[in-house]
């Protein structure tokens, strides 16, 4: 298949870009695709610890760009999942160490070698984000249902559009159905109405994410939890499978329990 290069971005920090990148990369590799996750957050690298690969880094992206090593030498192979690789960021450099053109060249050099390239973008709208987006064909925008996150996501979507990106999909992360139901929090339908882009997945708030990050084992690899199921579905949709989105209003009006019951056929329907 033709290599698909996808940037994971959000504008605001702390909304789950790295978690999404780690889990979708792992999930896609588990589905049999050859995947590389690139950490484009130069100077503040974290994808390595979230994926649990921090002890095996020898070279990094900047070494490749500056010609200090060959690309394959810098790729960290994940021993738990076949076909999963990490290209780490440099930790002791700054975002100015790389240009958009170099990033684009690096991404293009991965074409043909991998099925999926997922680029974890740094927060912000400056050069780090622009570089991360430069080499990508598609974008996943991660937002949480909070005013600051949604506002920043809107800005990022506008910028991605101005860069000429046409495939932009939204992931709403850390959704808390009970709070939406009681009118305390923005719901997925609200976020969608405001941002007006296509939704590719909803990830519920899930304590397992904290635990898996602490252990350095992406949820998708080990755990069966609401968030890992959500990542599995998003990966499926990225692959082009027709997986219906959870009935958003049901999710918000009645909570997950109802959907769980529906899954077992009490009322039939979607989940």
């Amino acid at each position: 298949m033709e290599t698909r290069i996808i940037v994971v971005t959000s504008g605001k920090g702390g909304v789950g870009k790295t978690t999404v990148t780690a889990n979708l990369s792992a999930r896609l590799a588990m589905e049999g695709f050859k995947v590389v996750a690139i950490d484009a957050d130069i100077g503040l690298r974290n994808l390595d610890v979230v994926m649990g690969l921090e002890n095996r880094i020898v070279f990094n992206m900047i070494d490749v760009i500056e010609g200090a090593c060959k690309l394959p030498q810098a790729l960290v192979r994940d021993k738990r999942v076949e076909n999963l690789y990490l290209l780490p960021a440099a930790q002791t450099r700054t975002k100015d160490a790389v240009t958009s053109d170099q990033m684009k060249e690096l991404c293009d050099s991965l074409r043909g070698e991998f099925d999926f390239v997922l680029v974890d973008s740094p927060a912000g709208i400056e050069s780090g984000f622009r570089n991360a987006a430069a080499g990508a064909d598609e974008a996943l925008v991660v937002a949480t249902p909070e005013v600051s996150s949604v506002r920043d996501a809107d800005r990022i979507i506008g910028l991605l559009e101005s860069f000429g990106k046409t495939s932009i999909n939204l992931i709403v992360n850390r959704v808390r159905p009970e709070m939406v139901r009681s009118g305390k929090m923005l719901g997925v339908s609200d976020v969608m109405e405001i941002l007006a882009i296509d939704l590719i997945g909803i990830v519920p708030e899930d304590d397992s994410v904290v635990v898996s990050t602490n252990k350095g084992e992406p949820l998708a690899m080990t755990n069966v939890s609401p968030a890992s199921r959500a990542f599995e579905k998003i990966a499926g949709r990225i692959m082009g499978k027709d997986i219906p989105l959870q009935d958003i209003d049901d999710l918000e009006e009645k909570g997950f329990l109802v959907n769980f019951r529906k899954l077992f056929g009490r009322r039939g329907g979607r989940s």
Binding site: R151, G183, K184, G187, D190, I194, L195
Partner: protein, 91 residues
């Protein structure tokens, strides 16, 4: 809280978040300052007044959302259409 809020159609935090966001994003997206809006308003009045008598106090002008784009929508009450000029032209 949720039930009562819905029952009395009270303003919930969810609703105020949505409304505040919609408003702030219109201005973020358009990137037009209130000063510029005022200039547009004055120019509109000047141009339209050449043809019509309008109620300046009744003018409603605002930016509105349409999907991911923004529209400038103005409602300008017309008091009288000026026909003098064209009639004079006829004579």
């Amino acid at each position: 809280m949720g039930f009562l809020d819905r029952f009395f159609r009270r303003e919930t935090p969810r609703k105020s978040a949505k409304e505040r966001l919609q408003l702030v994003l219109i201005h973020d997206r358009a990137d037009i300052s209130p000063g510029t809006m005022e200039l547009i308003r004055k120019d509109l009045i000047k141009v339209i007044s050449n043809y019509m008598v309008i109620s300046e106090e009744g003018i409603e002008m605002d930016l509105e959302r349409d999907g991911r784009s923004v529209a400038l929508v103005a409602s300008i009450p017309v008091l009288e259409v000026k026909r003098k000029r064209s009639r004079e032209g006829d004579k």
